[in-house]
């Protein structure tokens, strides 16, 4: 894999929230992708292609439901192998990252407790997260989400 591709994937990852970035950084997903590639007898360029697809997936650029087709088309496997690879990526890469992210969020809350008045406001608000941090307005958030979809 070229450094340029690595850089591009990292750029996308850097756009994610901090907790997601930390979770991804804490896990060697490239090595795990290579291991999976080996299991399915992927060679040289095919391995790089798989790493790129996994990178695009975890950085939120490509759609999860299109992952199987992407592997089949971009890596050049059979449909059956693409499905198996997809399942392994889920178990061996995505789940550990999600778990790691959950731990990081818990740790952050523990290390940086919200002021009591914010906690109280949250309890009294009935689940309004806007008291817990600087959140964008609903219009801005909506716009952002829709923009993200179009990427």
């Amino acid at each position: 894999m070229t450094e340029e591709i690595k850089q591009k994937i990292q750029e996308q990852i850097d756009l994610l929230p901090k907790d997601s970035q930390q979770a991804i950084a804490s896990f060697d997903w490239m090595k795990e992708s290579q291991n999976i590639a080996k299991t399915y007898n992927l060679f040289d360029e095919e391995v790089d292609d798989l790493i790129i697809e996994v990178g695009l997936l975890i950085s939120g650029v490509s759609y999860p439901e299109e992952f199987v087709t992407n592997i089949e088309d971009e890596v050049g496997t059979t449909k059956e192998d693409a499905e198996k690879i997809s399942d392994e990526v889920l178990e061996k890469i995505l789940k550990p990252i999600a778990k790691s992210r959950e731990e990081i969020i818990k740790q952050n809350i523990k290390n940086n407790p919200q002021p009591w008045d914010k906690e109280m406001k949250f309890v009294l608000s009935g689940g309004d997260y806007s008291h817990l941090g600087d959140r964008p307005t609903s219009e801005a958030l909506r716009e952002g989400i829709n923009k993200n979809i179009v990427i």
Partner: protein
């Protein structure tokens, strides 16, 4: 089983009384009970009802013809509707009117209660009742011996008095019944005797018919006249169908009233027969269940005075009908055209509706006075009448569901209605109303049932406190937001479905070649792995070229490319160069709006991808708009005024925006919201979710 038996009993009574002559009696003959039949019939004394009423309007000819020439198919339809729907219902109406007239007369006729079988049954019951006196005397004797009672003398006196009176119990009962019947006759005789063919013509030589008097108020036969519709067969069909519904309601009313009076006759027979037991019950210090004097008196008086009360109401309704005739219902004063017929129609419908409601009210009041037997007969009457009416109404209900219901359902599920609801301003109510129309049975029977309110119809009592209600409201709003998502029948989804179907169609058409290529790729990959393991350079070259060539072929299939001239070659097992020159340019499903070939890859990567995005975008827009509406000042004010929590609205709005999972369980803290550290949603097995980003992450 008991209900079935009671229905059979009612039917037997009705048929028996209706077809049997008055004055039928039981007699002992040759050691057997024989049923004596007298020749005189009530039929001669009640009017003809509506039997000849509709005859004047029979024999329509709308020039039915399905062949070229004079006449039309619409004429055939009109004649079929007239002959197959209207005519049978009109006959049933006449019959039910006759039945009602008959039973009102029969029930208020004193000879109906003078049958010898009543006297014989009463005598048998009286003999049984005498046992109570012996028991009563023994009771007083024992009480006196033991010195435990202080009312011995008083009780003996009452036993002797009752023992004497019991012999007159039938007489007393008949006095009460006759009194009520005489009173009923006072009102009954006020009904005019009208001509059997023209209810508006008063005569003196015809028997009295209550139904004819009632029907004369709205004259339904006036709207079915051929000359009115000579040039408008469509209007005739419409009027005929409406008229059939009207008659169905008439059947309902007539039969239910008839059954009320059957109940009276049976109730009074029972009261007469068991009078001795009721009198004897005065002597025992406990109430005899079902036959005690308190219940007996109550039933006797209620059943007896049901008749005068109800006939009095009918008389008042008749008088009211005269007032109705004076109301100018043809305000438009249309002189010709359809409006003229509609005026006539209104003149029938409005008085009928008023008469219908008044008779229902009269029946309700009369039932309150008729005791339990009358009530059960009335209910059975409603059941029988309802079955007859239901058959007619059910047919219309089917048509209603198929037409108006279908439109309602389509409107409720349309994109514009959902967007309107998301924006508030009555869109929710509109969609709800349309949804109700779509899910409505269009069965008037349901409405008629609900008119007889009972406790079960009043709805389920709300359980739980404020917290639970708030949680339920939050859940309800989340579900509503979910329901606003692009539905199956909307354009966006239909467009996506089309693309997916086209893709599947292409894949199916070329499944053989795709699968074969996949197998070749798998084999080449396996062989290459073995070759690399053995270090055999020749084989490595062979299988490398094979893997690349077959991968290129698969790509060409998906891209719909012609491989000629692309110089795709590989070595076969014998190291001979092979070329792949297949032409896959026809592997497509036409071209899209931009002129691009709709190949497998194009549909997979672009079409479906973009259409899914569009749907997701639309769903989010709707949900966010709905969330804003949910947490708006107006909605919060209305929620607080309705006893709800505005914070619940805020929680709901937040959960809708965050696409939080809808709580399934009952336990809810109310105000919890999504957890602080919600993990990424669990992705599907073969469709992994992204750890970050906007697609699958959520929560950040």
């Amino acid at each position: 089983m008991t209900r079935t038996l009671s229905k059979i009993l009612i039917l037997v009574l009705m048929v028996g009384i209706f077809f049997a002559p008055v004055g039928a009696s039981f007699e002992k003959k040759d050691n057997q009970i024989a049923f004596n039949v007298e020749v005189s019939t009530v039929n001669a004394q009640v009017g003809p009802g509506l039997a000849n009423f509709w005859a004047s309007s029979s024999g329509f000819d709308f020039e039915c013809n399905i062949l070229p020439g004079p006449g039309s198919v619409v004429g055939c339809i009109a004649e079929i509707i007239y002959g197959a729907v209207w005519w049978p219902i009109s006959l049933l109406t006449s019959l039910s009117a006759k039945i009602m007239d008959f039973f009102i007369y029969y029930s208020t006729n004193s000879t109906s209660y003078s049958g010898s079988f009543v006297g014989k049954a009463w005598g048998a019951v009286r003999d049984i009742a005498n046992i109570f006196f012996i028991i009563g005397l023994l009771y007083v004797a024992i009480e006196t011996i033991l010195g435990i009672g202080h009312n011995g003398k008083k009780m003996i006196a009452s036993i002797i008095v009752v023992a004497l009176l019991i012999n007159f119990s039938l007489f007393f009962t008949e006095v009460v019944i006759d009194t009520s019947n005489i009173l009923a006759r006072v009102f009954y005789n006020n009904f005019q005797q009208v001509d059997k063919n023209d209810p508006n013509k008063v005569v003196t030589n015809e028997p009295t018919s209550i139904s004819t008097n009632l029907v004369s108020i709205f004259n339904p036969q006036e709207i079915i006249q051929k000359e009115n519709y000579t040039n408008n067969v469509g209007l005739f069909i419409f009027i005929t169908l409406i008229s059939a519904i009207l008659m169905a309601f008439m059947i309902y009313i007539f039969l239910s009233v008839a059954l009320l009076f059957v109940g009276r006759v049976a109730g009074l027979w029972v009261a007469m027969v068991f009078a001795p037991i009721a009198f004897a019950s005065y002597t025992v210090p406990f109430e005899i269940p079902g036959l005690g004097h308190k219940k007996w008196w109550s039933d006797l008086l209620k059943q007896s005075f049901l008749a005068p009360i109800f006939i009095f109401f009918l008389y008042v309704i008749l008088l009211f009908g005269d007032a109705l005739k004076a109301i100018p219902l043809d305000i438009g004063k249309a002189q010709n055209g359809d409006a003229n017929y509609l005026d006539k129609f209104i003149k029938v419908i409005v008085p009928f509706a008023i008469i219908f409601v008044l008779i229902q009210q009269a029946k309700k009041l009369a039932v309150e006075y008729s005791g339990t037997i009358g009530e059960s007969f009335s209910k059975a009457g409603n059941f029988i009448a309802g079955a007859a009416t239901g058959a007619v109404i059910g047919t219309y209900a089917t048509v209603g569901r198929g037409t108006i219901g279908r439109i309602g359902n389509n409107v409720a599920n349309s994109s514009w209605a959902k967007r309107w609801e998301a924006n508030g301003w009555g869109g929710g109510q509109f969609r709800k109303a349309m949804g109700s129309v779509g899910s409505a049975s269009f069965d008037a029977r349901a409405g008629m049932k609900s008119a007889g309110l009972n406790a079960a119809d009043l709805g389920k009592v709300k359980e739980g406190g404020f917290t639970k209600i708030r949680a339920e409201n939050v859940k309800k709003r989340q579900e509503k937001a979910k329901a606003l998502e692009v539905g199956e029948d909307e354009k966006l989804k239909q467009s996506l479905n089309k693309s997916e179907e086209d893709l599947q169609g292409l894949m199916r058409s070329y499944s053989d070649i795709i699968e074969t290529t996949d197998k070749k790729i798998a084999a080449a990959r396996e062989n290459l792995k073995d070759a690399r393991a053995s270090g055999d350079q020749t084989k490595i070259t062979i299988y490398s070229t094979q893997l690349d060539a077959f991968k290129a072929k698969k790509k060409a299939i998906k891209k719909g490319e012609d491989m000629k001239g692309k110089n795709i070659q590989y070595f076969d097992e014998n190291q001979v160069v092979q070329y792949i020159n297949d032409d896959f340019s026809n592997v497509n499903a036409g071209v899209d709006a931009q002129g691009n070939k709709r190949t497998i890859q194009q549909i997979e990567d672009n079409e479906i991808h973009h259409k899914k995005q569009e749907i997701q975008k639309e769903n989010r827009n709707r949900k966010w708009t709905y969330a804003d509406t949910t947490n708006s000042g107006f909605r919060n004010t209305m929620t607080v005024l309705g006893g709800g929590s505005w914070k619940g609205n805020r929680e709901a709005a937040n959960k809708i925006r965050m696409e939080a999972k809808i709580e399934k369980g009952d336990d809810h803290g109310g105000g919890g919201g999504a957890s602080h550290s919600s993990p990424a949603p669990k992705p599907a097995a073969s469709k992994p979710a992204a750890a970050g980003g906007s697609h699958g992450g959520g929560g950040h």
